[in-house]
């Protein structure tokens, strides 16, 4: 009896020590898998918005991800203003309107292709489609292409910084 209670105590004491160690090592293991600071500090990308041509898709790069920039034609702007879902997605820089978004399908992350004649995007992986403002028009993607954090700075656009236009989009649920 004396012995067994002493063993019981030793068992519990070991269990406590091992438990603390196990939790501690799990924390260390989790943190070791985190993205490195150098990866996180992937900085900002500044785009000169005067250089783009209408209805010509340009793919930029921000944090290793492709960024779609599509300068809208006057006709597109007109079409978009008739559709509130499209209209809120456009970014105005100076007098021009732009569609700027992360070029990864919101379904599973493939890069959709742009067809300038039909003014639409098609994702070849699972057949999802988007219109010229990158709003989704055919499932499986659950939503339009995501818009990266941006700030309008004169005729320049800074990606990675949250300007008032971006904050408004986020609040109203235009993008995630």
């Amino acid at each position: 009896m004396h012995n067994s209670s002493r063993r019981g105590f030793m068992g519990k004491a070991f269990g406590a020590v091992a438990g603390v160690g196990a939790v501690g090592s799990l924390v260390a293991m989790k943190k070791s898998w985190d993205p490195l600071p150098s990866v996180k500090a992937a900085g900002f990308t500044t785009l000169d918005m005067t250089a783009y041509k209408e209805n010509e898709l340009v793919v930029e790069k921000w944090r290793g991800k492709p960024i779609f920039v599509l300068k809208q034609t006057a006709e597109m702007v007109k079409k978009a203003s008739a559709n509130p879902k499209d209209n809120v997605r456009l970014i105005k820089v100076g007098d021009a309107h732009f569609m700027v978004c992360i070029g990864l399908c919101t379904h599973l992350g493939c890069i959709p292709g742009y067809n300038p004649d039909e003014e639409s995007f098609l994702c070849a992986c699972h057949g999802g489609m988007y219109d010229f403002t990158a709003e989704v028009t055919k499932a499986p993607p659950p939503r339009g292409l995501d818009i990266p954090p941006f700030k309008v700075d004169g005729t320049k656009l800074v990606l990675g910084e949250e300007g008032p236009e971006y904050k408004k989009m986020k609040e109203t649920g235009v993008t995630l």
Partner: protein, 404 residues
């Protein structure tokens, strides 16, 4: 302390220290296998041999492979393929074996389903087998990342994105798995570690468990007959070898096993030498490019059926259907409510269930390969619904099965 005497032979010396004779009996000469079996019972040994070939070829590839995003592609396609003498052999053996091992796993699985080898005490054999299937799938996926071609990169992108859980938007989890916003150096390095160390360790442990799970219920036979292994073994050892229903694992059963393995190896090396291209996707001979998706992304053939269950639905429904397909096979011993352990051909409706499931999975596999256009999208959609429907129907049709 144990008493040791002067050894009369090397064998006796080892016997006193390691009980080699006893080990040989337990593992081989007195490990009893029923006689009433066919060549499908050799698939376990075929898998062991294939795993051994993967291990050996992998060791040689490991000596020249560079887990670095700038060097990986060339270390495989230039160093191993062109510079290393016989480097092509290790790569093609590794690639072909990785593909063929799944063919054998599926045959092994469907043999088990057909003969009811997951019932009456054999549940742990089935469960450990399905865990092995999961581990092999993870091993195949992580290995597919390593050449760092276009398919490696984009398969890595798509599969890790599954962990965002659709509408849950667990992007933090996806970035944690990758160690970056997109698959990059951290991603390649950790999948390299998983492929060459952690998952192979898990596989070896699970193989031990799978074999261990066989010891008590023993191997099933063609009629699902409950054999009294102790009585039959005694009959065999007493000299009535012909009358006994069992035989020794080695050398009796092994000799037949290795005969099948021999035929398999001829077929295997025919593929390695003349048709290795079926295991080498041409798209993966373009280096990874994060700014260009290949026109059509599809997994290797052995993942196509579950990929097709994901594809025809919207994101959330697709993810749920996919998760269902991944786990449902594990539950087979509990979803089959019938007391019968006999071949499917003698089980009434279950016979049709078995063939319907097999054909449906072949259709799903075919539809997963073609681009997502009509009529393939619709066929895939109904095949996916059939898959789910068959599993929902299983407990009901087996519960009403008559005892044979």
């Amino acid at each position: 302390m144990a008493h040791f005497t002067k050894a009369t032979s090397v064998k006796d010396w080892l016997n006193q220290r390691l009980a080699v004779e006893k080990v040989e009996k337990v593992m081989m000469s007195e490990y009893w296998i029923p006689k009433n079996i066919n060549f499908l019972w050799a698939m376990g040994m075929v898998l062991v041999i294939t795993f051994a070939m993967l291990l050996v070829s992998g060791i040689f590839l490991l000596m020249y492979y560079q887990p670095n995003v700038n060097l990986a592609f060339d270390s495989v396609n230039y160093t191993i393929m062109r510079e290393v003498d016989f480097g092509w052999l290790w790569r093609h053996v590794h690639g072909v074996a990785a593909s063929v091992v799944f063919l054998i796993i599926y045959i092994h699985m469907f043999t088990g389903i057909y003969y009811g080898s997951y019932k009456k005490g054999r549940e742990m054999i089935w469960i450990s087998g399905m865990l092995l299937f999961v581990a092999f799938s993870a091993e195949a996926f992580s290995g597919y990342m390593l050449p760092w071609g276009q398919m490696s990169y984009w398969a890595g992108m798509v599969i890790t994105n599954l962990f965002s859980g659709g509408s849950l938007h667990a992007d933090g989890l996806v970035e944690w798995i990758r160690g970056d916003y997109v698959p990059a150096q951290a991603f390649l390095n950790r999948f390299f570690m998983l492929h060459v160390l952690l998952i192979p360790l898990a596989i070896m442990g699970l193989i031990g468990l799978h074999f261990g799970a066989l010891r008590i219920p023993h191997v099933n036979n063609q009629d699902g007959e409950e054999v009294d292994f102790d009585a039959e073994a005694k009959k065999y050892l007493d000299g009535d070898k012909a009358g006994s229903k069992v035989m020794r694992f080695a050398n009796d059963f092994m000799s037949k096993d290795m005969m099948v393995v021999g035929i398999y190896l001829v077929f295997f090396f025919y593929l390695v030498f003349f048709h290795y291209d079926f295991a080498m996707d041409p798209v993966n001979f373009d280096p990874a490019d994060g700014l260009k998706t290949p026109e059509h992304i599809y997994p290797e053939w052995y993942f196509l059926w579950s990929y097709e269950i994901l594809r025809p639905f919207s994101t959330n429904v697709g993810l749920i259907a996919f998760a269902f397909a991944q786990v449902i096979f594990v539950l087979l011993p509990f979803l089959d409510r019938s007391p019968n352990t006999v071949p499917a051909s003698r089980r009434g409706i279950f016979k049709y269930w078995f063939w319907a499931m097999l054909i449906d999975m072949i259709i799903l596999t075919a539809m997963g390969k073609v681009p997502p256009i009509e009529p393939f999208g619709t066929i895939g959609f109904y095949a996916a619904l059939t898959f789910i429907g068959l599993w929902i129907a299983l407990p009901f049709i087996t519960a009403s099965e008559k005892k044979v």
